[in-house]
Amino acid sequence: MESAGRAQAARDRVPRIDPYGFERPEDFDYAAYEEFFSTYLAILTRRAIKWSRLLKGGAGVQKSMTLKRYIRKGVPLEHRARVWMGVSGAQAQMDQNPGYYLHLLQGEKDDSLEEAIRTDMNRTFPDNVRFRKGSDPCLQRTLYNVLLAYGHHNRGVGYCQGMNFLAGYLILVTRSEEESFWLLDALVGRILPDYYSPSMLGLKTDQEVLGELVRTKLPAVAALMDSHGLLWTLVVSRWFICLFVDVLPVETVLRIWDCLFNEGSKIIFRVALTLIKQHQALILEATSIPDICEKFKEITRGSFVTECHTFMQKIFSEPGSLSRASIARLRERCRARLLAQG
């Protein structure tokens, strides 16, 4: 009874809509969230003070060891756009190409590209009040512009489903169309190796790479997957394609992206390995393919992923060493294998 009362009280205190405009799901655990957030709020405040000091004077964001440490501990929302723009090189691109974004939007349009993007407009974040038709301002138009401009900018990629979620988050964070465009370019064009091209070879490669990493670091899980002939793509494709959007809680995704923009795509493996390692015992209970699929959904929910600050500490300790060189080697090997398979 007492806990029911506490849950109701938390429900009354915590807003139904989160700071980014997402409606909280029906089964949202308000009590657990409030408990976590009361601790997290202290961390956020402490970090905000440190960041203000670091960024004092309004100079550009310079990559450094200090900055890396700061970023791993989380970038405050008010500085996020600036930091992402700085460390990803998006700011430099934007500065070097004034007017380019508008030029893309004013040029001649590819009909099939427009059609493909339009199809997904009502289907991108229907649970976010700012993306709903009739909201003011309605971010659907912004999203449409960013994706359309990007499709014309990078014709080899055009528009690939999944990019709508990435662009949507960028818009929510930057609140700027042009910055979202350049950040999307940083992600799709530089940080993620060839995920969205027609063959999606980079995506397939990275899913295989994760499989290899699991084989080395968590052999029992790899054995389970093998024994059912289950392909990694079935359970983790969303993780890679959407960079955890709609997989993990919003705040956790943004913390991951903080590091992704600064340290590169390696972070995705760290997150994936941490999720799997933490829940190894649970995953190993699975006895069938549907079971395994269900477990892989389960491990993306609950307090372990909601408590983003602890989670981010874990991704840098749990998976152990993960050198850039070994990832590069694995990518090369998996890529060759995929190409040989045709």
Binding site: T119, Q161, Y196, M200, K204, L230, L234, I241, I289, P290
Partner: protein, 213 residues
Amino acid sequence: MAQVDGAPRPGAALGQACIFKLVLLGSGSVGKSSLALQYVKNDFRSILPTVGCAFFTKVVDLGAASLKFEIWDTAGQEKYHSVCHLYFRGANAALLVYDVTRKASFCKARQWLKDLEEEFHPGEVVVMLVGNKTDLNQEREVTFEEGREFAESKGLLFMETSAKLNHQVTEVFSAVARELLQRQEKKEGQRQQGDARLALNETPPGRGRCCAH
């Protein structure tokens, strides 16, 4: 690989339902995920585009017999084609879904059929053509007749549905289930007669053999 040969997998214990793998194929935004969601969870809402693949299971009770569907819901966007091919493997049934208000999606369903024909032997997989979104009848671009004629010409099952209004959704899956069970019974009958042609199921997934279309 599990289930490479496309034969239904018997249930783990005696008396348990056979498991059949069903894949949902079709263009983006024709309602593949909505059909699955309506069928499995009796729910219709705005769904995010499927990237990669989603997965559901449902037990179908047909009175005298029952079976279990593993429903593999695939991404519709062309880009994901090469990824989706992986999900074909070992399928027992496929729903080729199009949107009755979009002619292009109907043409795309024909394309998917070609892909299936390249991957499977004739008769190896039960295929149903499904025209979805009949609730948008005013905006129709594909008539019932067009759908039916095409399905007949290719020997496919055919139905029109509205996932939104939950019209004919269960019927689609039940019809596929009945067809699967009938074919299985027939095969077993033939097997008992020692028909050599029945080695079909033991061959690896059909590559290089096409239907004569």
